[in-house]
């Protein structure tokens, strides 16, 4: 019998996604310096759309399945169904009041525990950062809890001879890494065009697709290590950003007249002979 590379199981991909408020709809109460997210509609964290596309392309090419994983309140569920409609196979939402108030230490721990419970994984994909927290700390955190390799700010990723070949952004350039699997990979925002939702899949995603909710008890995690209690950082005060005093002068007149006023102001910056 000739040796033939077979791939019985394909790739087991876990796609970590987050639902974030639309930044332009977040209401700030300037008097109390608090943020009211309740009035804001939500969306899937934009970089996560790019990671979903990467996950689905890898599945198209290598087979296997894509499992969505998120941690958050029940309102996340309909957004996970959008990702299911794009092509993911199943979704798991870690949802429990005890998870609330977590910093990145507790969040990455909880997600890592969710991944352990899922059990099988070749790749764990994340977005490069969330548009609300914007720390980019959760993907390396998950990798550390699971004691596996990480690639952050990845662009093109390929599977080559059972290893992951990933292009990664560095300051002023890029690098190409060859990484053993399983690995955690955070995907740069904007590297691809996320696919459209297939209509038949949408019907399935809305009605039948499995979205499983796991609580802290389901994960069997120590309550001291999750949520606010598991967090090493605390917010000691909220304040209003100190605005720099500006003239705030609005000019008037034709484009030429306004340009002239600006010209007079910026003239000292002109390079002679430019």
């Amino acid at each position: 019998m000739t040796a033939k590379r077979t791939n019985h199981k394909g790739l087991e991909i876990i796609a970590c996604i987050k639902v974030v408020p639309r930044p332009e709809e977040v209401v700030v109460d300037k008097a109390t310096a608090t943020i009211d997210r309740a009035k804001a509609r939500s969306l899937i964290n934009p970089p996560d759309m790019n990671l979903l596309e990467v996950a689905l392309e890898l599945k198209d090419r290598h087979g296997g399945q894509v499992t969505l994983l998120s941690m958050g309140p029940p309102l996340f569920e309909p957004y996970m169904r959008i990702a299911l409609a794009m092509g993911a196979d199943r979704a798991i939402l870690l949802s429990d009041r005890a998870f609330g108030g977590a910093d990145t230490l507790a969040t990455s721990y909880t997600l890592a525990e969710g991944i352990r419970k899922i059990g099988r994984y070749d790749l764990i994909l994340c977005g490069e950062e969330s548009s609300d927290g914007a720390t980019a700390q959760v993907p390396p955190g998950i990798a550390e809890w699971l004691d596996i390799c990480q690639v952050t700010y990845a662009g093109e990723v390929k599977i080559v001879d059972g290893k992951l070949r990933a292009e990664r952004e560095v300051r002023g350039g890029h690098e190409v890494l060859l990484v053993p699997m399983p690995a955690v990979v955070s995907i740069r925002v904007g590297i691809n065009e996320p696919r459209f939702i297939d209509y038949d899949r949408k019907l399935w995603a809305e009605k039948e697709a499995p979205v499983t909710v796991w609580t802290a008890r389901d994960l069997g995690v120590d309550e001291e290590k999750i949520g606010l209690k598991g967090s090493a950082t605390t917010v000691s005060g909220l304040g209003q950003a100190r605005a720099v005093e500006r003239r705030r002068e609005i000019l008037s007149g034709s484009p030429q007249e306004q340009a002239h006023v600006i010209f007079e102001q910026i003239r000292p910056f002109l390079r002679k002979g430019a």
Partner: protein, 336 residues
């Protein structure tokens, strides 16, 4: 609570991670030394730099000139290029041996990659991308300010029970001190032991170039969504004023401009003498990156755009009408 690696009362000193690329210290590391020097003087503690790489010993002197009292140098071929696992291994060993109280890192791609891994390995708190920091009166408790999401909110983050208190800071937020070659400090070599299991990742290639450094630009011409991908006028204006092009995150995500020119919360903090903002709405994510400019001029068709609240002069008009007129006047003036 996760069991802390060591107790706050055992911790001492402030550390800065000295990131280097191709044998050159990152600007943000020098900026952190500048800020950390202030904090160290205030608390009367030592300021230590953690330097990793291969044949990088000379950089220790530069760090001392810029404020470090001591530099721990891990110099080994295995560290010649940044890789998460070997670097995390060596830094963890350094931290366990010396028990720093505060540990600051630059929020570059590699700095964030390392910091995120270390935060969990050291079981401590890591504050992302502070815009200001100070010590709580009479203590060495770090209060790190971050700009909150949405608009105009700042939050102060503390890490009370875990050490080191870690934080990342974006390039341009703080200013480096003028190097003083006469400053004295000690250079302490560190024994490097990186097991095979930490060398699983292979770097097939790494290409970097000296990108634009808009954090040092005197004049910045910034564009956003309203530019619709047409940067010719902005480039022309930048050339006349000896300035650099800057961009909002949207413009960078659209692929119009490289990331080295992104201004704001997830980009760079700039402090030019003049910033001209073209077709930019002025969300806080952007304005935190230009608010240190001495003068801000904005052009936007939307009178309600938030950017006008942050501007000295506002032009409520079409960028593509105003800039040609402005460029013409500047060009005429340049010739006389």
């Amino acid at each position: 609570m996760f069991e802390p690696l060591y107790k706050p009362e055992e911790a001492h000193g402030i550390w800065v991670y000295l990131e280097q690329q191709a044998g050159k210290l990152e600007g943000v590391s020098l900026e952190l030394l500048g800020k950390a020097r202030e904090l160290a003087d205030q608390a009367k503690v030592r300021l230590t730099g953690a330097l990793l790489g291969h044949k990088v010993g000379d950089l220790a002197k530069e760090a001392i000139a810029c404020g470090a009292d001591e530099v721990l140098v891990a110099d080994d071929a295995v560290l010649s290029q940044y890789r998460t696992d070997p670097y995390a291994r060596v830094v963890t060993q350094m931290v366990q041996d010396h028990k720093p109280d505060i540990f600051l890192l630059g929020a570059t791609p590699d700095g964030r990659d390392l910091a995120g891994r270390l935060g969990v390995r050291l079981r401590t708190g890591l504050t992302a991308d502070c815009t200001a920091m100070w010590l709580k009166e009479g203590t060495t408790l770090l209060e790190a300010q971050v700009t909150g999401f949405g608009g105009g909110i700042t939050a102060v983050i503390e890490c009370q029970y875990h050490r080191p208190q870690m934080a990342t800071v974006r390039p341009g937020v703080f200013q480096a001190a003028e190097p003083d070659p006469a400053r004295k400090g000690t250079v302490t070599p560190v024994v490097v032991k990186v097991p095979q299991e930490d060398q699983r990742v292979q770097v097939l290639e790494r290409v970097t170039r000296e990108g634009a450094d808009i954090t040092k630009a005197k004049v910045i011409i910034a564009g956003g969504r309203g530019i619709r991908g047409d940067w010719r006028l902005l480039e022309e204006l930048a050339a006349l004023l000896g300035g650099e092009i800057g961009a909002t995150r949207v413009a960078v995500d659209e692929g119009w401009v490289g990331r080295d020119r992104q201004i704001g919360q997830t980009g760079l903090v700039t402090r030019p003498d003049l910033a001209i903002c073209c077709g930019i709405s002025g969300a806080i994510h952007f304005t935190v990156g230009v608010e240190k400019a001495a003068m801000i001029v904005s052009i936007n068709t939307d009178r309600e755009a938030e950017i006008f609240e942050h501007s000295d002069y506002g032009v409520v008009d079409d960028v593509f009408q105003v800039l040609p007129a402005l460029i013409e006047e500047l060009r005429k003036a340049a010739q006389t």
